[in-house]
């Protein structure tokens, strides 16, 4: 017992290790690199972005600095029809994208894991109730649900997160539950119970670490879902105009007829950012799948 404690790495290190990041897969590594880049951008947005993304800018002649092309007047990616700096919006958009993505992913993974754990571990009526709830969640069409929620609540990026937390835990929950059932059938859970470990201890010690990578996998899918959903919601006009997101930028671009104006510098970059972040999530997911379910292999 004693030297075991000595060898124990810190909690963070242990958590990190049990995530089993798929570092052998080049695409997954690319995905992680994309995440890292955007994460840094989001953290240092204030330092990177030359302007406040919502500030209406004027030229030195005190005219509205609208629809400037990239490079004109020193605006890297030009300005919007409202006279806002596109580059700064992209930079700050990273922040909301990641905030939405990561919180939504966290919620989905957390709720899904807890439901799956409790349901799989305790079984019986708890399981029955939770799985019926999952059935109901499966019966709710997701995008319409978000639309309704976003329309009735005040426009906010948190609507998407809330909707995902309310509905999308279902997939994670079911998968984790079946994983827990498999784990439970293995001897050591019974062994631990015979030794007098409490349920909580068994769950935290023996089961939770084994499902962590699976939660993380579903989390990384959820990041993409959240960002795409936020973009769709913004496009349909239910977004939050106060916080600049890439979806909002695209909506702004289309509403301002960037297509007809051939303002590619406006509607292409946010699209690429979305594709990059979301597919980065998918790449990591695939790396995980290859790691967790090698039978799917390449």
């Amino acid at each position: 017992m004693h030297d075991l404690a000595l060898q124990k790495p810190g909690l963070v290190g242990r958590m990190f290790r049990s995530l089993k990041l798929p570092l052998s897969d080049p695409f997954a590594v690319f995905g992680l690199a994309v995440y890292a880049t955007f994460l840094l951008t989001a953290i240092f947005a204030d330092a990177i972005a030359p302007y406040d993304p919502t500030e209406i800018l004027y030229t030195p002649e005190y005219e509205l600095a609208s629809d400037l092309r990239p490079g004109e007047q020193g605006f890297i990616l030009g300005t919007t029809s409202l006279g806002r700096d596109i580059f700064s919006q992209i930079v700050y958009g990273t922040r909301s994208a990641l905030i939405i993505g990561i919180t939504a992913a966290f919620m989905v993974a957390l709720i899904g894991s807890v439901v799956g754990l409790v349901s799989g571990y305790f079984g019986g009526w708890v399981d029955a109730v939770l799985m019926r709830l999952a059935d109901i969640a499966f019966g709710i069409p997701f995008l319409p649900f978000v639309i309704v929620l976003a329309a009735f609540l005040e426009p906010s990026i948190w609507n998407v997160v809330l909707a995902m937390a309310l509905v999308l835990w279902r997939d994670t929950g079911r998968v984790i539950r079946s994983q827990v059932l498999t784990l439970r059938s293995r001897g050591y859970v019974d062994a631990a119970r015979v030794c007098g470990s409490s349920d909580l201890k068994i769950i935290l010690r023996h089961i939770a670490p084994n499902i962590l990578p699976l939660s993380f996998l579903y989390g990384s899918i959820a990041i993409g879902w959240a960002i795409l959903t936020e973009a769709s919601i913004s496009f349909l006009g239910f977004g939050d105009p106060q916080s600049i997101s890439w979806g909002y930028m695209l909506q702004d671009a289309f509403a301002s007829q960037a297509l007809a104006k051939q303002a590619y510098y406006w509607f292409v970059p946010p699209g690429i950012c979305i594709i990059l972040v979301v597919s980065a999530g998918f790449f990591i997911t695939r790396g995980y799948e290859n790691l967790l379910f090698p039978k799917l292999g390449r």
Binding site: I56, Y58, E154, P155, G237, P241, Q242, Q257, A260
Partner: protein, 551 residues
């Protein structure tokens, strides 16, 4: 750049304030809220509000722009009348609003403050008197003087901060339609009933194909269902009077009309008119049309008939006797109420009287009117097809009128250019884009018209500091309207300081705008004069006024 500018300004004010060293300063003014709709649905409104908030902040106010969709905003403004500070709002142009009565009376008369359209709570007995007087005045010149007085009172009190009268921009394909045949209705634009009757085809294409972003809700002559719907039923149904291209009433199904005293109008029905099912249009039908709206089955139309005491028929002459004098009766009632066939609607209304639902929820399979176009087909959310009524006394030159539902403005422009549309009946995008597209395309002609409607910021007079005229005047003066015209409307609007649009030449008082002084210094001066002080860059109430509404 801008923030430094602000800082310098603030310091300057600080110095000024210190020099004046007021004996007393009130509480700092709480955070002021201003409501706006989202950029997605209302880009110009949203941008105007951003600009306004930015200017107000320079006066030392803390301003919070709250964005909410229309449903929520209207709910707050209408039903929580004590709970908001200021809001963006708009009135849209409609032909019957060519008569100023509705705007002058409903928006500002104290009787509508509690539950009606005076949601800002404007109370001014002097104004009430003028608004009431103009209603009963049949002599146009005398009435005009009263309407001018009302406009000047509003300019003085600034119950609202008037922003602009936008320009309506439409376009059509000049290779399909003869450009000279377009009618530009004042305050409305070229998308109007007159144009649809007059459009002259140049070649083989004889169908007017136009777009709307909004779905058609109903084609029901007894239900005021929405803007797009009115395009349709104005073509399918005739009215005794129509508001002409110049904004003044014009005899239509009526051959002529005549005021007999200040409570009686005699109307002579045109002869030889027929319903789309072939039956003749009779004075009985006309009488029925005006009785149907007050039958209790058409609540939205009821106000347009509620002032009618009796209707008498003598040959082709129909005489309306009113309960009390109403100058606007011709425009707002005779030009508003659709003529409907008695033989179709009488049984329907009798049947509806026994039921809970009313005529507003009744949709005929094939609406029968007597108008210049006949109803052909309606595909839910996709298109409406009308065909020309060649027997009409003002038969259209086009063959069909086809309304396509195109929710996406980008797609609408693309369709216009590809020929899928030949008349741009609605364009919510950037007019400059449209003009550029027309230049590139060569086939398109764009026409902009100053609207009858207007955009404004409503101040809630119930809540301090908006109950103070000086404060309202200062806030209104803070923003140069030209900045809004240029920055938010791209030049496609005219500055406004009156609820009457300059497009209504007869009623419009140009003095209101000419006397409006704007600019930051003007506004700051007004506030200072009224005793407001700046402390630490924050604006404070005058005297010992306490902030009672801070959260």
């Amino acid at each position: 750049m801008k923030s430094t500018c602000r800082a310098v300004m603030a310091t300057a004010f600080l110095a000024l304030a210190a020099a004046a060293s007021p004996a007393m300063a009130g509480d700092p003014i709480r955070t002021i809220e201003i409501l706006s709709r989202p950029q997605a649905s209302q880009p110009q409104e949203f941008q105007s509000i951003q600009l306004i908030a930015q200017e107000w902040r320079k006066l030392g106010l803390t301003v919070n722009v709250r964005v909410m969709p229309w449903e929520q905003m209207s709910d707050v403004v209408w039903y929580q009348r004590a709970d908001w500070d200021s809001t963006a709002w708009q009135m849209v142009g409609r032909p019957e609003r060519s008569d100023p009565d509705e705007i002058i009376y409903n928006l500002f008369h104290s009787s509508t403050a509690e539950k009606g359209y005076n949601f800002i709570g404007y109370q001014n007995p002097e104004y009430d008197a003028v608004a009431e007087a103009q209603r009963g005045e049949i002599d146009p010149e005398k009435r005009k003087a009263m309407v001018f007085e009302a406009q000047e009172l509003l300019a003085r009190d600034q119950p609202n901060m008037m922003l602009v009268h936008p320009k309506q921009t439409f376009a059509f394909d000049k290779t399909v339609w003869k450009p000279e045949s377009i009618v530009d209705q004042s305050g409305i634009g070229i998308r109007n009933t007159w144009t649809f009757m007059a459009l002259e085809p140049l070649g083989e294409k004889k169908d007017i194909v136009l777009n709307s972003s909004d779905n058609v809700k109903a084609i029901n002559p007894l239900y005021i269902s929405g803007g797009v719907d009115s395009w349709v039923f104005e073509l399918v149904y005739d009215r005794l009077i129509r508001v002409g291209p110049d904004g003044l009433p014009k005899a239509w199904a009526a051959e002529s009309y005549e005021w007999k005293g200040d409570k009686t109008v005699a109307v002579k029905l045109r002869e030889g008119m027929k319903w789309h099912d072939g039956k003749p249009v009779t004075p009985e039908d006309v009488k029925f049309s005006f009785e149907a709206i007050v039958s209790g089955e058409a609540p939205m139309y009821a106000p347009f008939g509620s002032n009618i005491e009796s209707i008498a028929i003598d040959g082709q002459v129909i005489t309306f006797t009113l309960k009390k004098p109403a100058a606007s009766f011709v425009t707002s009632s005779l030009a508003k109420v659709n003529l409907i066939p008695k033989h179709v609607w009488e049984p329907i209304i009798e049947d509806l009287k026994t039921k809970e639902a009313n005529a507003e929820s009744y949709q005929e399979k094939t609406p029968i009117g007597s108008g210049p176009y006949k109803f052909e087909r309606w595909l839910t959310n996709e298109e409406i097809v009308l065909s020309a009524n060649k027997e009409h006394f003002n038969a259209p030159k086009a063959d069909r009128w086809i309304l396509r539902i195109v929710p996406n403005v980008e797609a609408a422009l693309g369709m216009l250019r590809s020929g899928e549309l030949n008349f741009l009946g609605e364009f919510s995008g950037d007019p400059k884009v449209l003009i550029d597209a027309a230049k590139q395309d060569g086939d398109l002609e764009v026409v902009s018209t100053v609207e009858m409607g207007f955009r404004y910021v409503a101040f809630n007079e119930r809540r301090p500091p908006f109950n103070d005229v000086a404060f309202r005047r200062a806030l209104s003066a803070a923003v140069d309207r030209r900045l809004i015209v240029n920055a938010a409307y791209r030049g496609f609007a005219v500055p406004s300081n009156s609820v009457i649009s300059p497009s209504l030449e007869f009623w419009y008082d140009p003095k209101t705008l000419a006397e409006l002084k704007t600019g930051h210094d003007v506004a700051a001066g007004m506030l200072e004069e009224a005793g407001y002080t700046l402390d630490g860059g924050k604006l404070h109430y005058p005297g010992d006024t306490k902030e009672t509404l801070a959260k």
